[in-house]
Structure formats: structure tokens, C-alpha cells
């Protein structure tokens, strides 16, 4: 089997296994009306993490330093949020939902202002309003323009004992914000005397699939902690061992 075919098989098997793990984890946590928000928040974040991670793992052309970090940064934030919520699930899940509904109200107000001049989007505005109002009437929804946990991600990571994740997050930031320390390294032709702007040919960053798989594994760990399920990193280990074997063989 060629290297590409082996890599493809490894990726397909990994994604299939993550999906099985997801379905087992979700169905193994019996619906409890007293825990509605906790189950929705932890389950929704786990679903988001699995989606981002498996999409990135499947596309090895994005195992690089331009697009890869945009996915990884979003994944690290999901992990830190889950870790911090898992310390006090009921209270913090409610806070997470309230902040999100406030953001929805903010988007709705912007959309209403814009729609007054653009008739065709009125239907979309109504749908947006309904989405918010079935959860909490907009009159009773507060808009918080600060941070959802009332503290920055670094403090959350420290409190949840995942401070290393914040270090990773801060190193992924320049690619997301296009800061100069990222831009000059990738978008100037260092080989030419006048350093002309270039559209770069992405260089492989072999850490990307490992970090994506680690993000998924961590999300399962915090989900299972709250759902009181035993955690195993078998899917992660088998994928990363497979990558290692391929690296040695290639």
C-alpha cells in the first residue's frame, strides 16, 4: 500500500472511531431534566470539538502554519472552556448559555438595524428573533460585551490546571490575528533582496494532527468527568502510534 493510501486509511479509521466514541459517550449519559444545561453545553462543546478535529485531521493539506492554527486555536479554547466548566458544571454551564444568548441578542439588534434598509433579510431577522425567544425572551436577556466567564482565558486555564494549553493558545494567536510577527515570516520572500510580498506555498507542520487529536481526547476527558464515565485515550493513542509508524516507514 502506498504512503498516501496508508495515511488515508489511518485517518478514516480514526474519524470512524471518534464518531463511535462520541455516540457512546452521548448515549451513555441518560437525559436528566435537572441537568439540561450541563448536558447541552458539555455535549455541544464535545460535538464541536469532534467536528473541528476530524475535519482538520482529514485534510492533510492544512497541516501547516496558515490555516491549521485557526482550527487548533478554536479547539484549544473549547478544551479550556470544558475544563473550567467541569469544576462547577451547573453554575458555569448556565453562565455559558447566558453569555451566548446575549451575543445572539446583540447580533439580532445589528441585523434589525441593517434590515430596516434591506427588505430581503427581514425573514432571516425574524428567524433569528424566534431562535432567541424560544430559549429566553429577549427582554430578559442581558448582553455582556466582556468575557463569558468574567475572566480571561489564561486565568480560566490556570484555575482548571491546563495552563500549558493557554501557552499553546497564545502561540496560535498571531496566525489568527495576522500580527506582524506571523506575517513577515510567511508572506515576504526572504530569498529576494527586496523581500517582495508572496502567496506562500504552505510548509508541512507535522504537529497539527497530533494537536487536533489531543484536543479531541481532552474534550472527551472533561465530558466524561462531568458525565461520570470512565475515560480512555485508546483512540488517541492508536491514531498517534499509527502516525509515528508511518513517519518511521516514510
Amino acid at each position: 500500500m502506498s504512503f498516501e493510501a496508508e495515511l488515508q486509511t489511518l485517518m478514516d479509521n480514526y474519524v470512524r472511531q471518534v464518531r463511535l466514541d462520541f455516540e457512546r459517550a452521548v448515549s451513555g449519559w441518560q437525559a436528566d431534566v435537572r441537568l439540561r444545561e450541563v448536558q447541552a453545553v458539555m455535549g455541544g462543546l464535545l460535538s464541536r470539538q469532534c467536528l473541528l478535529g476530524t475535519m482538520l485531521v482529514r485534510r492533510y493539506d492544512y497541516w501547516e502554519n496558515l490555516i491549521g492554527p485557526l482550527f487548533l486555536r478554536a479547539m484549544v479554547e473549547v478544551t479550556v472552556n470544558m475544563a473550567w466548566i467541569s469544576i462547577e458544571p451547573a453554575l458555569r454551564s448556565a453562565k455559558f448559555v447566558s453569555y451566548g444568548l446575549g451575543q445572539s441578542k446583540l447580533a439580532l439588534e445589528h441585523a434589525r438595524n441593517l434590515a430596516s434598509l434591506m427588505e430581503e433579510s427581514q425573514e432571516a431577522v425574524d428567524a433569528q428573533a424566534m431562535w432567541l425567544n424560544v430559549q429566553r425572551h429577549e427582554m430578559f436577556t442581558d448582553v455582556n460585551v466582556g468575557q463569558w466567564a468574567d475572566m480571561d482565558l489564561e486565568t480560566m486555564a490556570n484555575q482548571a490546571d491546563v495552563s500549558k494549553l493557554y501557552t499553546l493558545y497564545s502561540f496560535l494567536g498571531p496566525a489568527a490575528h495576522g500580527s506582524w510577527d506571523h506575517v513577515f515570516q510567511f508572506f515576504l520572500d526572504g530569498a529576494s533582496e527586496h523581500e517582495r510580498p508572496i502567496i506562500p506555498v504552505p510548509r508541512l507542520n507535522p504537529m497539527v494532527p497530533y494537536l487536533a487529536a489531543q484536543g479531541i481526547d481532552e474534550a472527551f476527558r472533561f465530558f466524561r468527568k462531568v458525565a461520570q464515565q470512565p475515560h480512555s485515550s485508546g483512540t488517541y493513542s492508536s491514531f498517534t502510534n499509527g502516525l509515528e509508524d508511518l513517519r518511521k516507514a516514510g
Binding site: 462543546l45 460535538s47 473541528l52 478554536a74 453569555y99 515576504l188 510580498p197
Partner: protein, 268 residues
């Protein structure tokens, strides 16, 4: 408005657009307005525009990004990049130096912190070479200019017009996607349980993202705004106008809102 399409139907148009965009970047850099030729403006602005074009091309040419699950992860940096470039153009010399200095300071602090906290000798060596590279870059900005830090909302507010409309229209949703907020995951990662005994609770779902060409069109629009801002001619780039005309002929794009409608909305 959602544009569900078959990728193969539009692939030739998108590939042509991507090639034209690369050429337009090169043409633009070769014909900067004379007031943008003062050192270090062309270097900083040129690299920022190259990044902008790179990200826009990725979204336009790859249906992988045409969905609300991952599209905004690239569209948000694109929107912020448009705001940054247009904001720099209002005072190019001061702002190129100021932004570059602030970013380099931040990067140096980050790397130094890592090098102090890590026990791994490989990471320390790596940090050392990175610090040397940052110091050498910093020397290029050793003039009197002060570091400048401005957030995207302030930039949008200062710029007004189209930039402000785009920010108000898209930024909250894009940020909610990037930060995995409740208003994103409840829409795209959860479904309503139809069992009435469970009081219509949300249940996590595993689903494949839908495809919507609108994400590609937004990327192309953001890209065109930057070209317009630098050329200062208020005209669409030929690549973008040609793409829109072709998609209109295919019946895929209809009645895009005019600039006047959008501009009017900015002051609402």
C-alpha cells in the same frame, strides 16, 4: 440568503478567479500609489495584502470552508485584515510602524516567557533563534514611532461606511464560531429533542456541514474591498466583477445588495 450549489458547476469560474487574484496582487504591488512607497510601508502593507489574498483564495477555491462550522474561522481573520489594511491607509507611515512594533513586542514577551518556563533544551534553542529573528526584524522599525494597539471594533467605527456595515453584519456570528460560544454550538452542534418528556432539551449531534457558496462570496467581497481601498478608485476589481457576472449568468447569484443600500445602512 443561502446558495446551495454543486461545486463542479462553478469550479472553472473559481479557479479562474484564483489565478486572476494572484495576478492582481502582483500588479498592485508593482503600481503602488506614490505616497505608499515610503519605507517601510510597501513591505508591511504588501505582506498584509498577500496574507489577505492567500486567505481569500483558500475560502473561495475550497468548498471545505463553505459552511458555518469552519468558514467563519477564516472569514473572521479576513474581515479583521480588511479593517486593519484600510485603517493603516488613513495614516500609512505612523500606523505601519506602530502596529509592527506592538506585534513584535508582544511576540518577544511571549517567546521569552516560554523560554524561561520551559525545561526542554530543544525549545530553549528554538526560542533563542526566534528571538534573534524578532530582534533583527525590530531593527527595521527603529524609528521614533510608538507601538499602536487598536481593536477591530474601534477600527470599524473609525472607518465607518462599508467596513462598519460588514463588522456589524458578520462579526458577532464569526466570533461566536471562533470561540465556540453557546449561540454557535446550539445552532450547529445540538438538535432539539422531540421527546416531550424531556422538555425539548438540546441533544448533541454528529452531522456533516451543509454547503453554502455565500461563504466564498463573502471572502471574495472582503478581498475586493482591500484592492479598492488601496487603488482608491471605488471600482470593483476585474477578477471580482467577472466572477459575479459569471455566477449571475449561471443563476447562482442574484440581486446582490448594492453599495448604496449597504452604505445607507451604516448610518442607521
Amino acid at each position: 440568503m443561502q446558495h446551495e450549489i454543486n461545486f463542479e458547476d462553478v469550479k472553472p469560474q473559481l479557479e479562474r478567479y484564483e489565478n486572476q487574484l494572484t495576478q492582481e496582487l502582483s500588479d498592485l504591488v508593482n503600481s503602488w500609489p506614490s505616497d505608499l512607497e515610503i519605507d517601510p510601508i510597501p513591505r508591511v502593507l504588501g505582506a498584509l495584502v498577500a496574507r489577505h489574498v492567500t486567505l481569500a483564495s483558500q475560502v473561495v477555491a475550497d468548498p471545505f470552508f463553505w459552511n458555518p462550522d469552519v468558514g467563519p474561522l477564516v472569514l473572521r481573520p479576513l474581515l479583521e485584515s480588511w479593517l486593519k489594511i484600510e485603517w493603516i491607509l488613513k495614516s500609512p507611515l505612523k500606523r505601519t510602524i506602530g502596529l509592527a512594533k506592538a506585534d513584535l513586542n508582544g511576540a518577544k514577551n511571549r517567546v521569552q516567557e516560554l523560554s524561561e518556563t520551559t525545561r526542554n533544551s530543544y525549545a530553549r534553542t528554538d526560542s533563542k533563534s526566534l528571538l534573534e529573528m524578532l530582534a533583527s526584524e525590530e531593527n527595521l522599525f527603529a524609528s521614533d514611532g510608538k507601538p499602536v494597539m487598536v481593536d477591530s471594533w474601534k477600527m470599524a467605527k473609525t472607518l465607518g461606511g462599508q467596513a462598519q456595515v460588514a463588522y456589524r453584519r458578520h462579526h458577532v456570528r464569526m466570533s461566536s464560531c471562533a470561540h465556540g460560544a453557546w449561540n454557535h454550538i446550539a445552532r450547529y452542534n445540538l438538535a432539539i429533542n422531540t421527546n416531550p418528556l424531556h422538555r425539548n432539551n438540546f441533544i448533541p449531534v454528529w452531522r456533516q456541514p451543509d454547503t453554502d457558496l455565500n461563504f466564498a462570496l463573502i471572502a471574495a467581497d472582503y478581498c475586493d474591498r482591500v484592492f479598492q481601498a488601496i487603488r482608491r478608485d471605488g471600482r470593483m476589481s476585474s477578477s471580482y466583477s467577472e466572477l459575479i457576472v459569471k455566477l449571475e449568468k449561471l443563476g447562482i447569484v442574484q440581486n446582490l445588495p448594492s453599495d448604496e443600500e449597504e452604505f445607507g445602512a451604516a448610518s442607521a
